[in-house]
Symmetry: C2
Subunit: 246 residues, 2 copies
């Protein structure tokens, strides 16, 4: 079985090297550069489209374009899995754009080269079969769970995005808001304040593109922004009330 990787950015390179521990891996990157990835063979776009399984490791906003280019060339019965941080949009695009005899599973490996530096054991991967035969689903569930020892969480793209908006999405949003302020270590910083600085660190080092994509392409983000705004106004109203109630 030949595994193809589309996109050798920071995450794609990491994912290609990981897959190469277990499979024969070919990889395509739109921009030509030098890559030194053990067990990964660079290939043309046409060659990639002949792989048995193709992982998309591109920005959420690039998925549609890649699928449109891939659709006429991809081989019958291939399996495509995306790895995006939102799931509803790329899942719908795979189902709409890829030919009906191409199978698709939406995935979200919730880790990357930083958190997976010392191995990926027990790290979470969200897994949503969209159009795939049972045998193949079982194979990949077993592979992620047993060969890579990942914590595989099965949920629908809708479940994923709703939950992600109120976990990862809200964290990145708060992190970026706090990141605009000039907060830094303080001699009078409390334990809670140290957690606040941690949030900035854990969100503001990611590329701005990921932040935009997480916020714009998750359909539940708008609801999260509204609820956050309501909550902010509630707290301010309570403070006002406490003040005038004296």
């Amino acid at each position: 079985m030949k595994i193809g990787i589309y996109g050798l950015g920071r995450f794609g390179s990491f994912w290609a090297s990981l897959m190469a521990k277990r499979f024969d891996v070919i990889a395509y990157n739109r921009t030509k550069r030098e890559f030194d990835l053990k067990g990964v063979t660079l290939c043309s776009f046409e060659e990639l489209c002949q792989a048995d399984v193709i992982f998309l490791c591109v920005a959420i906003s690039s998925v549609r374009g890649v699928l449109e280019k891939m659709a006429p060339l991809i081989k019958n019965g291939a399996l495509v899995m995306d790895t995006c941080s939102v799931k509803v949009m790329p899942a719908r695009q795979m189902m709409e754009i890829l030919p009906p005899d191409v199978q698709c599973i939406a995935t979200h490996p919730m880790f990357g080269p930083d958190s997976g530096r010392n191995g990926v054991r027990s790290l979470p991967l969200v897994f949503s079969p969209l159009r795939c035969d049972e045998k193949r689903i079982a194979f990949w569930l077993k592979c992620f769970r047993e060969s890579f020892e990942l914590d595989v969480i099965e949920m629908t793209p809708e479940e994923h995005d709703r939950e992600a908006a109120f976990t990862q999405g809200i964290t990145h949003f708060i992190g970026r808001v706090l990141g605009e302020l000039d907060l830094s270590h303080s001699t009078i910083g409390t334990t809670g304040y140290r957690s606040l600085l941690e949030i900035i660190e854990q969100t503001c080092n990611d590329p701005m593109q990921l932040f935009y994509d997480l916020q714009r392409f998750n359909p539940y983000t708008h609801d999260m922004h509204l609820k956050l705004n309501e909550s902010l106004n509630d707290v301010l109203a309570k403070l006002d009330q406490a003040e005038t109630g004296e």
Copy 2:
């Protein structure tokens, strides 16, 4: 030297027991209840006013009333130290309301019965002498540093409040805003999200009164709210721009 404690709430009881390890301690609480504090003798308000050093362990909003009751009865040359979480307001009130021959130091022990459960060694205490002779300042600096092994930080009330608004104040504000949402542990929670839940835990367990007082009586809080709001609008504008710029 007799040390008096005004207020045996949760923090006052903790502080009285701590001081009793080193000094002869008397304590007064407005509401009569049973107290079982080793080395602490309950006394009347009149007796408390005859102590050599009086610590105020009351809510920020109660400081003025206590000082007004105390002013006509307090003995000449006594030293009063408050322990409030904001410093500009109680410092000004001590200077204005207490007779000029009464000395005052503003303090903020940045810990309490929870964080000091296993001892107070290395915990921070903010120390601002307002009207006090050098010998006495030196005595208390040495006492806090050497007998109680605290990390004593000397700063003015203004410096404290400005820094506290953008550390403790912003943390409590964000914590309360997040606390209004129904966030909980998630199987797809990232490390950053766990820090977010920690902030809620570390702020929403404190009494609501402390939150109100921190926000209302720190003169720099208003600036913090404005900057936070600006930053929030900046991030939303950038998201809008990224969307329409596609």
